[in-house]
C-alpha cells in the first residue's frame, strides 16, 4: 500500500526503515563486537574513565542507544564510526551479547555522606520505579547498579544540560534543578549497588 521512495542522499534511510529485526543473537554479536572491546572491555566491563560498562544492560536499552548513535540523535562522534552503516540486526546482536555478560563492579571506596544523600534522593525521585528494583534496568531504562561512577555522573550532567538526546526526555525532568553535589551523590550511590 505504501511505497517508500527515497532520493539518493537519503538512501541510508532505507536501511534504517528495514522491517523489525529478529531477536538479537549473542554469539553473532560477540563475533562482530571485537572492535568494541578496546574501550568497553571484552566482557563489557569498562576500565576506562567516562566509558560505560555494557555488561548486563537490558538488551532493549543497548539497542535503543545504538540506534540513537547511528541516527546521530545521541550525537557522540566517538561512537558514530562503530555503528554507521550497521543494520538493526547488528545492533540487536551487540545488545544481546552485552546483556548476557556479567557485570563486575569495581567501585571507589564508599563515602557514607554521599551514599546516604544518594539513597534519599533516589527514593524521593523514584529512580527505581523506572530503572527497576535494585536499579538493574528494564526495557529502555538503563541498568544503573554498579555502573562506573564517573560515567553515570557525566550522563546526568549531559541530561541536565540538554546535551543528550534519549529515548525520551524523562531524565531531564527527573533531575531538573538538582545541584551538582546531588548529581554526584546519585552517581556514587548507584555505583555502590551490586
Amino acid at each position: 500500500m505504501t511505497v517508500l521512495r527515497i532520493a539518493a542522499p537519503l538512501a541510508v534511510a532505507l536501511l534504517l526503515a528495514s522491517p523489525a529485526a529478529a531477536e538479537g543473537d549473542a554469539a553473532r554479536g560477540k563475533a562482530k563486537a571485537e572492535q568494541c572491546f578496546g574501550c568497553h572491555g571484552e566482557t563489557g566491563n569498562s576500565t576506562m574513565p567516562n566509558i560505560p560498562s555494557l555488561a548486563q544492560q537490558p538488551a532493549a536499552y543497548t539497542f535503543f542507544q545504538l540506534f540513537l548513535f547511528r541516527e546521530k540523535l545521541r550525537n557522540v562522534p566517538t561512537m558514530t564510526p562503530f555503528v554507521e552503516g550497521r543494520s538493526d540486526q547488528d545492533l540487536e546482536d551487540f545488545a544481546a551479547y552485552f546483556a548476557g555478560q556479567k557485570l563486575e563492579p569495581d567501585p571507589e571506596p564508599r563515602d557514607d555522606v554521599r551514599f546516604q544523600r544518594g539513597a534519599e534522593l533516589s527514593q524521593r525521585l523514584r529512580c527505581a520505579s523506572c530503572h527497576g528494583a535494585g536499579y538493574v534496568g528494564q526495557a529502555q531504562m538503563a541498568r544503573l547498579a554498579g555502573q562506573r561512577e564517573d560515567y553515570t555522573l557525566m550522563a546526568l550532567e549531559q541530561y541536565q544540560k540538554n546535551e543528550r538526546t534519549g529515548i525520551d526526555t524523562n531524565m531531564t525532568a527527573v533531575i531538573y534543578g538538582l545541584p551538582a553535589a546531588d548529581l554526584a551523590a546519585l552517581a556514587h550511590y548507584m555505583a555502590q549497588q551490586k
Binding site: 546521530k72 526495557a139 544540560k161 525520551d168 525532568a173 531538573y176
Partner: protein, 404 residues
C-alpha cells in the same frame, strides 16, 4: 578506526564537554532536604512505555479490533512511518507527519489507491511541530525552527531549509518542549513552551506558555500561561477562540489530576500550573494561599494520565450534521497509572462558550484489557470531511469516513 586515534577522539570529546559547561539551574524547592519524607506514590513500579523505532508491517496492525460509531468506517490509510505523530496538510494535498525520538519528518502523497511517503528530514531533535503556509512547511524541533519553501514541488529532494532558530530565541529545555505548532486565523504561528519538569516552579515569562509569533519570528506574544504540557490546539470555527488540551502532573495519584480541555477567552490568561490542577485541585507539593484564584479552569477534564494530545474541531461535510464543531481528541494513553487509561479518540461537544460539555468515545479498541497495541496522537480533518488519525506506536495513519 585505530584505537589510538579513537582515544584521542574521546579525549577531545571530553575536553569540549568541559568547555561547554554552564551553571546548573537554580535549586528546585520541591526537592528534599536531608531527612525529608518521601513524596506520593514512591513505591509504585510505573515507567514509560518504550517507543518503536522500526517499521510495523501492515498485517501486524490489528485494525479489526478498532470500533467506531455506527455508520463510520476506519481503514489503514498509510503505514511504514515509525513514530509518526502530528499532521498538517500542504495546499497541494501532501500530509506532513512529525515525530519525536526518531527525529524525522515524513511527507505523504495520496496517489488515490495508495499512499507514498518520503523522509523529508531526519536527524532532528524531536521535530514534532509542523505548520504550513504560503507553500512553506514550518518545522519546530524543541528550540530550532526551519522553513521549507515550496516544499510540495520537491518532496524527494527538499534541499536545505531556511533556519529561523535565531529569530525565535526559544529556551533549550527538551522536556515537554516537543512542539505542537499551527497557524492561527490571525496568520500567526502558535506553539507552546512547556514546563521542563513534571512539577516545579516556573518563570511564567519563559515556560508553561502558549505563544504566538509573526511568521518570521518577530512580535512574540504570550497567549496563555500556567500551561504544563499542551500538545494540541485548534480554533473554534464559531468564535475564532483558541482551545487546547493540557496534561496533568504525574505521581500525585492514580486518579488525577486529570488532563484538561481549555478555552482561551482572554489572551494571557493563566491555567494554573504548578499550583492549581484540573477542576481546581491544589498541588500537594507546591502550595500557596488560594492557589486557584485568577486561574481559568478547564471546559472539561479528559481523564487521569490519559495523555490528551492532538485535537481538531470537526468542520467537514462528511460526518452527520451533529458532528459540526465537535472536537475530536486523540488520547495517547497513560503510563503513570496502574489501570491504563486513554488509548482512544474521544469526541467532545460543547457550546462556543464551553457550556454543556460532554465527552463520548469515538474510536476505541487500542486497549486490550490492560495491554495496548496502538497509541493515537493526532487527528486531522481532510477537505473531503474524512478524518485521519496517526498512531505513533505502529507508524500508521488511519482514515475514518462516514457513509450517508
Amino acid at each position: 578506526m585505530k584505537l589510538g586515534s579513537a582515544l584521542t577522539a574521546v579525549a577531545l570529546l571530553l575536553a569540549s564537554t568541559a568547555l561547554a559547561q554552564q551553571p546548573a539551574p537554580a535549586q528546585n524547592p520541591a526537592l528534599p532536604g536531608p531527612g525529608m519524607p518521601p513524596s506520593h506514590m514512591t513505591n509504585m513500579t510505573l515507567s514509560p512505555h518504550p517507543p518503536v523505532m522500526q517499521v510495523t508491517a501492515p498485517d501486524k496492525i490489528p485494525l479489526n479490533k478498532l470500533k467506531v460509531p455506527a455508520g463510520f468506517k476506519i481503514e489503514l490509510w498509510a503505514h511504514g512511518m515509525p513514530g509518526v505523530r502530528m499532521m498538517t496538510r500542504g495546499d497541494k494535498g501532501t500530509i506532513f507527519g512529525g515525530t519525536r525520538i526518531i527525529g524525522r519528518v515524513y511527507a505523504i502523497s495520496d496517489k488515490g489507491a495508495q499512499r507514498e511517503h518520503v523522509i523529508l528530514a531526519q536527524g532532528l531533535t524531536q521535530p514534532n511541530g509542523l505548520a504550513f503556509r504560503n507553500g512553506a512547511l514550518y518545522v519546530t524541533a524543541i528550540n530550532k525552527v526551519f522553513r521549507y519553501d515550496g516544499v510540495e514541488d520537491k518532496l524527494a529532494n527538499p534541499g536545505t531549509p531556511v533556519e529561523m532558530t535565531d529569530a525565535f530565541k526559544l529556551p533549550p529545555e527538551v522536556h515537554h518542549n516537543w512542539k505542537f505548532t499551527a497557524f492561527g486565523p490571525d496568520n500567526k504561528l502558535y506553539f507552546q513552551v512547556g514546563a521542563p519538569c513534571n512539577i516545579c516552579e516556573l518563570n511564567d515569562n519563559v515556560h508553561g506558555q502558549i505563544r504566538r509569533y509573526n511568521p518570521d519570528g518577530s512580535g512574540m506574544e504570550i497567549v496563555a500561561k500556567g500551561v504544563r504540557n499542551t500538545v494540541g490546539f485548534d480554533w473554534d470555527p464559531r468564535s475564532g477562540q483558541l482551545w487546547f488540551t493540557d496534561n496533568g502532573r504525574d505521581w500525585m495519584s492514580e486518579d488525577g489530576p486529570e488532563e484538561e480541555l481549555n478555552r482561551v477567552s482572554q489572551i494571557g490568561a493563566h491555567y494554573g500550573f504548578p499550583y492549581c490542577h484540573a477542576n481546581g485541585i491544589p498541588d500537594p507539593d507546591f502550595k500557596k494561599p488560594n492557589p486557584c484564584q485568577g486561574v481559568t479552569l478547564p471546559v472539561i477534564t479528559l481523564g487521569a494520565h490519559a495523555a490528551a494530545l492532538g485535537m481538531r474541531f470537526y468542520r467537514g461535510n462528511m460526518f452527520p450534521p451533529e458532528y459540526q464543531n465537535s472536537i475530536l481528541v486523540a488520547r495517547r494513553g497513560s503510563w503513570n497509572r496502574t489501570q491504563k487509561n486513554g488509548y482512544d479518540v474521544v469526541r467532545v461537544t460543547a457550546g462556543a462558550n464551553g457550556e454543556n460539555p460532554k465527552v463520548e468515545p469515538f474510536i476505541t479498541g487500542f486497549l486490550d484489557g490492560n495491554d495496548f497495541w496502538g497509541r493515537p496522537v493526532d487527528v486531522h480533518v481532510q477537505p473531503d470531511g474524512s478524518v485521519l488519525v496517526s498512531d505513533e506506536q505502529n507508524g500508521a495513519i488511519y482514515r475514518v469516513s462516514y457513509q450517508r
